[in-house]
């Protein structure tokens, strides 16, 4: 069991992708015939690299350019990435449905405009402090924390969990 502090620290290697990575590349439609996270995990990023899921260790971090996750609303996209063991996605920007899906299911996603990393670089992310370090290059970055509304969802562990907490409070 991770301690409260560790929950906000993510350490892993960078896997780098380009701009406008769309949901057909994250999880092609042919794999959408299931909602089982473990099956979806095997096909994460399969539109670009069929073997992606075999290469990652828990906590590894996807690094991408602008508009990551554009296209379909399929929640299978962030779900497959999370279930494959990816600790976080760092991109210059995210497509809006991917963004809300990731928040709703509790996959950490961070927008850092000028972040530089190569595949294989060792990264360290502190979600609470808003710090991102590329240990391989020595460069450090910071990012603003989420607005309160989203913080509440993230802290509850997802949207459904937050609704449950609130309905319990109301009882």
């Amino acid at each position: 069991m991770k301690s409260e502090k560790d929950k906000f620290i993510i350490k892993g290697r960078a896997f780098k992708f380009g701009e406008n990575v769309d949901t057909d590349q994250i999880i092609p439609a042919r794999y959408l015939d299931t909602s089982d996270p473990d099956v979806l995990a095997c096909h994460a990023m399969a539109g670009i690299d069929e073997d992606f899921s075999k290469k990652i260790n828990p906590g590894d971090i996807i690094v991408a350019g602008r508009n990551f996750g554009c296209g379909s609303s399929r929640e299978h996209a962030p779900l497959s990435i999370k279930a494959a063991g990816i600790g976080a996605v760092v991109a210059q920007s995210f497509a809006r449905i991917f963004f809300r899906n990731a928040i709703n299911i509790g996959l950490p996603i961070i927008e850092v405009k000028d972040f530089k990393a190569q595949s294989g670089d060792e990264l360290e992310l502190d979600l609470k402090k808003g710090k991102l370090k590329n240990k391989s290059s020595g460069e450090k970055y910071s990012f603003p924390s989420f607005p309160g509304f989203l913080q509440n969802i993230i802290q509850a562990g997802g949207l459904m969990e937050r609704i449950r907490e609130e309905s319990k409070k109301g009882e």
Partner: protein, 422 residues
């Protein structure tokens, strides 16, 4: 006030003071939509977290349209799960062959102006053409809306788009939206709300407006909403399953200054467009492209699968044959449209041209079934996305156009302007 904020300000429990860009609000959804791909995940989330009761079952619509009629055992199991859930909770369920959700819901009168529509499908934005605030979300959002009736929104910046000028021959909604996406790029409207007005909009058919609204998500927009005029009221009157209150007569954003950005488009300058493979933003005039040979033409989808689209395509291909080595696939997007195509002779026109007519389905649009491409193959489709691998093998290519360009190109065997075929 922007069209979207006007709708939100009229909803219960929405604090009008919070309707500025960047604020988070929660609002009641009038329609909660999901399909055979997104519903199973929503069911999982719902059953894990709820007491098992849907707050407003009458608002829920489930449509089995993507992998239906089921292409394999897994997809059959998925639809079975959705069907059983629908029966258990007494919610609307459209089974295989009824139609593609975003054509079906408007045809069936399930969406009315001023509605808030949330859908676990990115093309939920389509309903903006009827003056509804409609936005694509995920499965968990839908599960949450089943539980509470509500969805969360971040108020986006609003961009006013004024459509001016008279449309040229063979130009329709598809060309306007492809042109717009080509101008601003696939993230040109990221996190923004697009609101359409202008003289050219008034002259557009509702079909063309649906096509434009449908593809606003292709430039990242949260919604693409349009002014409500007599055409929308007339369309709604004929179908609406619920009472509705249209915005007051004469309400227009045309001279409104309350927008974060403004874009004017002179539609008279737009030629029929083709989006080259890889991105809907790769659009250019069909007259400017080199000879691109194609193996398949697909006419249909939630983008261009309405009556006018089939009529226009049929007018081009009537009495002609599709190119010998080309697969010509016509997909009526609802059962009612299919029936009308048979009754009014359109089906015969397509079949005589050598078309395969599939049952209503999303099918090849998302690379599901009924027309998957092998490596190296190229299709021209009236659909909305042409990302790598969208219609099949990752080394296949998809080009996008309006139905007239698609029909002409089916005859020629390569992409061509409708005026140029013999």
């Amino acid at each position: 006030m922007s069209l979207a904020r006007n709708i939100l300000s009229g909803k219960p429990d929405v604090d009008a003071k919070k309707l500025t860009a960047g604020q988070f609000i929660e609002a009641d959804a009038d329609v909660i939509l999901s399909n055979d791909i997104t519903t199973p995940l929503a069911i999982d989330a719902f059953e894990k977290h709820s007491e098992g009761r849907i707050a407003y079952p009458e608002r829920v619509v489930l449509v089995a349209d993507h992998f239906t009629p089921n292409k394999d055992i897994n997809s059959a199991e998925q639809v079975k799960k959705v069907r059983n859930f629908a029966h258990r909770h007494g919610v609307k369920f459209f089974d295989a062959g009824c139609g593609i959700e975003h054509v079906l819901l408007t045809e069936q009168g399930l969406v009315v102006p001023q509605d808030i529509v949330v859908g676990a499908d990115s093309h939920t934005v389509t309903y903006g053409a009827m003056g509804a605030l409609a936005s694509g979300m995920g499965s968990t959002d839908v599960a949450a809306a089943w539980m509470t009736g509500k969805a969360w929104f971040k108020i986006p910046e609003a961009v006013k788009i004024v459509l001016n000028g008279k449309l040229g021959e063979y130009v329709s909604g598809k060309d306007i939206i492809l042109y717009l996406i080509g101008q601003i790029g696939v993230d040109g409207a990221l996190y923004k709300g697009l609101e359409f007005t202008g003289q050219a909009l008034k002259e557009l058919s509702l079909e063309s407006r649906f096509t434009i609204a449908n593809m606003t998500v292709e430039c990242g927009a949260k919604y693409g909403i349009m002014e409500v005029d007599d055409k929308v009221i007339d369309y709604t009157e004929k179908r609406a399953q619920r009472p509705y209150s249209p915005p007051p007569a004469g309400y227009s954003i045309e001279t409104d200054k309350d927008f974060d950005d403004l874009m004017e488009i002179d539609c008279s300058q737009i030629a029929p467009q083709v989006a080259l493979h890889g991105s809907p933003a790769n659009s250019r005039s069909v007259n400017e492209i080199e000879k691109i040979k194609i193996d398949q033409v697909v006419i249909g989808s939630c983008t261009n699968g309405r009556w006018e689209d089939y009529v226009k395509a049929a007018a081009i291909i009537r009495g002609k044959k599709a190119f010998s080595s080309l697969r010509f696939i016509v997909i009526p997007s609802t059962a009612a449209l299919y029936s009308r195509m048979v009754k009014e002779g359109l089906a015969e026109v397509f079949l005589a041209a050598g078309a395969v007519m599939s049952p209503p389905t999303c099918g090849p649009c998302l690379g599901g079934h009924m027309g998957i491409l092998a490596s190296g193959e190229r299709a021209l489709a009236t659909t909305n996305r042409n990302f790598t691998g969208r219609m099949g093998h990752k080394d296949s290519e998809v080009y996008l156009s309006n139905p007239e360009v698609a029909a002409a190109s089916a005859v020629a065997g390569y992409i061509i302007a409708p005026g140029k075929i013999k």
